[in-house]
């Protein structure tokens, strides 16, 4: 489960950026095409934060939907599955949004 590694990366990054801070809330952005399951992050977040400045922090997750542009017909569309296909049938698409995996902000005490 790579979500534990992701949660540990969040802890490391926040600890490095804000050494010694007591963090009460973490706001993440996890896009629909990021390959990370928000519920799994929630599941292991407490485990990853235990004994750190993020212990007990609340987790807020925003999930931007996927948005793509077809290179064949130039249409912009929102795919409904991780297999990104334009309604015109072309698989040649540029992903405009949905791959986010980001720490947006934290709340410190």
């Amino acid at each position: 489960m790579h979500e534990l590694a992701i949660a540990e990366n969040v802890v490391e990054t926040v600890t490095e950026r804000l050494p010694g801070a007591t963090v009460t809330c973490v706001h993440l952005e996890i896009g629909a095409l990021s390959g990370v399951v928000p519920d799994s992050i929630r599941f292991c977040f407490d485990l990853a934060t235990e004994g750190t400045g993020l212990a007990g922090a609340r987790l807020e997750i925003t999930e931007p939907p996927a948005r793509c542009r077809c290179r064949a017909c130039d249409a912009e569309f929102q795919p409904d599955s991780p297999v990104v296909l334009c309604p015109c049938g072309s698989p040649d698409v540029a992903v405009l949004a949905g791959e986010e995996l980001k720490i947006v902000s934290v709340q410190v005490a």
Partner: protein
């Protein structure tokens, strides 16, 4: 009380949130507290919160891994080393393919291997017997290799300039897809015994592949594997990837794989 959402603190925490909050752009987030809870106000995408201080970080979670992966890539490129990240589910035939490749191309390539497994040195022993320089990385409970492990492995491996380095990732079609190691190309194996539906079931992995090797094709007569369907699905998921059917045991398609390697091998500096 949580300073951000106004949710009541207490011994019980709700892993499954109560509310989904839709934003104008279609994105949404969830709350464990009701919208009318104290301290919870929304103005468009902005939040106003009572108490505490919000620090904007706007940092990608994998920024550190990706920065190290770039360092690995620069290090490899400067030495004219071709590095491949070889991925598949467990038992798809990565090591068997590498053993044959090492033996067949012994006069052509110097091959170094980074073996990623949770435990044992079994694969490293096999590759050493095939004449390769090998570093085994045991990830313990870890389900993938990351750029730090590969940096340390490359330091230990000391691959010569102009050589081929194959990083055999932990057998897993999910987690390794997320972690850039600094490789030049991602090669994904899908064995015919796994069924033709693996690309559509694990699109993240296959979407990142530059080459997909459909392996163990010598077993096709005994299976219902639909190679055309698998290839068509791969065309949708990963239109830029090359798809090569191959049997490391019988040798079918193996020369096409070797040609793919030769075409990508950078000239030594």
């Amino acid at each position: 009380m949580c300073a951000t959402c106004g949710c009541a603190d207490g011994p019980a925490r709700l892993p499954i949130p109560l509310h989904r909050h839709q934003h104008d752009d279609g994105s949404w987030h969830e709350h464990a507290a009701a919208h009318d809870a104290p301290g919870h106000e929304h103005a468009g995408g902005q939040h106003e919160h009572a108490g505490g201080q919000t620090v904007t970080l706007e940092e990608r979670v994998l920024a550190r891994n990706d920065a190290l992966a770039r360092q690995n890539r620069d290090w490899l490129r400067a030495r004219g080393i071709l590095a491949l990240n070889l991925m598949s589910s467990p038992g798809a035939g990565k090591t068997t393919l590498l053993e044959r490749t090492a033996r067949d191309l012994a006069g052509e390539f110097v091959i170094g291997v980074v073996e990623g497994d949770q435990e044992t040195t079994l694969d490293a022993d096999r590759m050493r017997a095939a004449g390769c320089r090998v570093v085994q990385v045991n990830t313990g409970t870890g389900c993938h290799l990351d750029a730090v492990m590969v940096r340390d492995a490359l330091t230990a491996l000391e691959p010569p300039d102009g050589s081929l380095v194959v990083i055999e990732n932990v057998g897993n079609l999910v987690c390794p897809a997320l972690f850039d190691l600094g490789e030049a190309h991602r090669v994904v194996l899908a064995s015919v015994t796994e069924g033709a539906d693996k690309p559509v079931k694990y699109p993240h992995m296959f979407r990142s592949a530059g080459l997909v090797l459909v392996s163990k094709t010598d077993l096709l007569p005994y299976l219902d594997f639909d190679l055309d369907r698998c290839t068509a699905d791969l065309g949708k998921i990963s239109p830029a990837a090359t798809v090569l059917p191959v049997s490391a045991r019988a040798g079918d398609g193996i020369d096409t794989w070797y040609d793919w390697l030769r075409q990508r091998n950078p000239a030594p500096r």
